[in-house]
Amino acid sequence: MIYEGKQKIWADYQKEIPEDHYFYVRSCIRQSFFPASEVTFLDITRNKLGKDIFETEHHTTCGGIAYHSDAIPQETAMTIIARQFALMKKYGYENYVCSCITSFGLYCETMETWREYPELQEKIADNLWKSCKLEFAKPKFLVHASDLIFKYRNQIAAKSKYKLVNVRTGEPLRVVEHIGCHYSKMFPSKGVGGAEYPYVLVGMVEAWGGQIIDYPERRHCCGFGFRQYMIQSNRGYSLSNTHKKFESMEPFKPDMIITNCPGCPYFLDRWQYVIAETEGKTYGENGHGIPVFTYEEVAGLVMGYDPWDLGLQTHQVGVEPLLDKMGIPYDPAKKYLGKNGKNIGEPEKPHCLK
Amino acid sequence: MTALLQTLYTYSQITPEGIIDRYPNSYNHFVLPFVIGISFIIVYLLIGLIRILYHLTAEERKRLFFSLFTPKTALKNIKDIFCDCLLHTKIWKRKPLLGYMHSAIAFGWFMLIVLGHIEVALFAPRHLDSVADGALYYPIFYRFFIWMSPEHETLRGSLFFFLMDFFLLYVLSGIALAMYKRVRSIALGMRHTTKPSLADRVALYCLWAIFPLRLLAEGFTADLSGGSFLTKPLNMLFRNFFGNELNFLPTWWLYSICLGLFFLAMPFSRYMHILTEPLLIVMRNAGLKVRKPRKGFAEAEIYACSSCGLCLDACPMNTQKKNLKYSSVYFIRFLRRHNEKKINEIADKCLMCGKCYALCPVGVNSPDIRRAQRETLNHKLSFDFTPMDNFRLKENSEEGAEVMYFAGCMSHLTPKIIKSVTSVLESAGKKFIFADREGGICCGRPMLLAGRTEAAKELISKNKKMIMESGCKILLLSCPICYKVFKDDYDLKGIRILHYTQYLNELIEKGELKVAKGSGSMVYHDPCELGRGCGVYEEPRNVLRTIGELKKAEKERDESICCGGSLGSLTLDNKDRGKIAESSINNLTAENPQSIVTACPLCYRSFREKSPIPVKDFAEVVCENIKSN
């Protein structure tokens, strides 16, 4: 892999990301699967870096899941989005940051459609007025939360306590980055670094001391695909996608995976358990899996957050080996203690996966 | 019969006067080489015979045994052995000089042996009593052991002397020709001859030496033991040169050594055929067939090959010198030597045109052995013909249609043939069922030729079912390959199987189809499977003669040259096939005909690729010349 070649491509896909003042919307899935990630995001940006990130409890889903599952038509999804934009306008913001990749894709798609067909935008504005009596304005800048962390990566690095380095060997950790499909595959110009070699996560990993590994199936979807995972009998398809990625990355011996999408970390994490149970195969060292993180979790680890405050105990693949490598102290006894100090219950031990 | 033997026996007990054994015990050391040789060959033959019989199935052994005592086959055996082994009538017919050479050596030698034994039986019968009395060698060296007083020379005795000298001369003339053939084979009508092996050479030179040595030896002793027009003058000549005290023992030693060496080399040389050919004739006449490429009947065939190399010139592949090595004679030689790689290579290459078999003086059916050899490798290959199970005739049999036309796979690539056949049938007012208008099951012959007998049998049974259910009376074929297998392997009771050449000939002879005389000249090519394969030579010619001027090919009928397109060969490539087609066309156009007519879709296609003159199908020619009423 010629690094300079990738740099040339990255140079072509520079995205303008304003420094401050964002209207923040959450992700349906991440709120349930990785609730600590969004909390960490807000904590880092607001409290550690002092940025103005506004969020309101009045925002809803973007409609993406329903839209991609053919449950609602595009116009409905657009109207929901118009309402979000109306909220942004109402609270006086012009920059829009969303936590979810599906949403990000849908916002891009909607904005592009409106650009091509202004009459449709008129119609949606009309719909919104009729249904909610609201008026919206398109955001001046639309970014994904990972874009922001990318933007702040050096500030985070400056405040970091730990690096993505194996403290025992001094070698940088070998990191697989996985980008959500809807981040830049639909509109390469909307993603940092484009679609073929997205730079958004690579930039973070490099800034924090890790080493990115590039494996053959890096472009491949994690297998999340709404239609596949929603129906049980189709999940084999989803599983096979993930399996293919792991088979492909296995020879590179990655220490961890970093992702920027709601579904990817979930599937990359949980399917390792299913593969281990059905095929008897594990991909990490000594029967462990490869731990999978969201970018906020990685940022949090680097900045010295307590792993259990980051919600790492909710992962299927144990994170302890990685914490050991990075030299991050943790208290195993506190792993399953809730915020209130009470035990939240321990999951059943898997047969195969350590 | 017994009475006759009795008298003969009593008669032989009387030693005629004036014949005296010159040596006590009638023994001299020089007979040893011969005795060793003859004993070896007898033992070898016995073991070989037992081996062959052992590898026959019980059924085959029974058949062979009964055939020996069935007068018809027994008589045929005798006739065949006499004509083929001794007189070599087959070679006479094709190449008279070559025939003379063979019969001179074989028949002449045979007569020398027979007459020698009769002579001993008449004049020194006690030596035939047992091996201890010298029964093995005495008749051979008779002239050495006796002294005959000239006063007692009888008419009967001199007749024998004359006959012995006569046949010796006869043999010597054959040997002289054989030597000449070694130098210039083309003079005897052979372009290529086989390369002799070491054993062949030893046996050959011994054979050449035996009879001149015999002449010398008997010449030396002619004054003592009698002689005739050849040996007596020679004896006189010797006396003039060497004086009366002739030391003749060395020539007798040499004679015996040559005989002994010849017999010792025999099993490893081509001359084994002298002894095995009668066995082959007997087994063939009993109706035995090749089942395995090297055991049982095939072994008799292999050892009966005289390695004469007549098949070299016969083989159509030998238009290219590089293909000489694939001829039957080498195939059989490698079978004898167990050279597996070469055996398979040669077996697969052959076009199976059958010309080597047709021309073989011994009648070794090498195409059959090749097929059996292919089977050893290919019979295990699995196949699946279940999809063909439900094949039914697509068209309902027309009311009163007696003829079923089975075009075969290949005819579908020559629409002209199909169109001609069907329109001729229509002109003759014949209703017919077109069995494979929309495609059908292959006849099985190609499979059979590839040595996949089981697969072929399955195809055959499926087709058979279809044909029997159709209720037709005549099965009409336009492809000789199909025709051959339908005729030989199908067993369609109550159905006449006809190639279209036969059928159209019949229709024309019966007047059901009228053809006009055209003006063009043509030559007819005998397709291998139709001519040599099924013996159909006359019918097509008959029809063609009524249509136009039929010219002759340089070689035709059973000597016709394969078109090169044969399905028989598994490995011959396209280029080599083209070369064969060219040579076949050259052969056909010897008399400058205006067109070539053939009766096989494969020949038709092969020729059309290469021929400078128009190539027509038999049915096409008939169709063009139908006289409309």
Partner: protein, 109 residues
């Protein structure tokens, strides 16, 4: 092992790294024509057995080159050896010997 109600689906991708190069070179050795096909499909179109069941030398050769010998053998298992394909092949391939050789090399007994 836990029953999840779904499982890994096998990859449909042809993996050329896994193809049986040794057997194919053996095939080429005994029948060099194996390399001459230009995939025109004449053999398949004229096939006598193809009337009854899918039979294709062209496709079989491709399958062998792609490492799927089961498919190749299946595509040839109904071959009646009639030789029509030899006649129509524009590259002059000895199709019958090729089929025979494929069977000899790839059929496990």
């Amino acid at each position: 092992m836990i029953e999840f109600g779904f499982k890994l689906s096998p990859s449909s991708r042809i993996n050329l790294d896994l193809r049986d190069k040794a057997s194919f070179s053996k095939l080429v050795e005994i029948e060099p024509d194996a390399l001459k096909c230009m995939a025109c499909g004449s053999c398949t179109a004229s096939c006598s057995a193809g009337v009854f069941e899918e039979t294709s030398l062209r496709s079989a050769l491709l399958s062998l080159q792609n490492g799927d010998k089961e498919k190749a053998l299946k595509l040839l298992s109904h071959c009646m050896f009639c030789g029509k394909c030899t006649m129509v092949c524009p590259r002059g391939i000895n199709t019958r010997h090729l089929i025979l050789s494929i069977n000899k090399i790839y059929q496990v007994r």
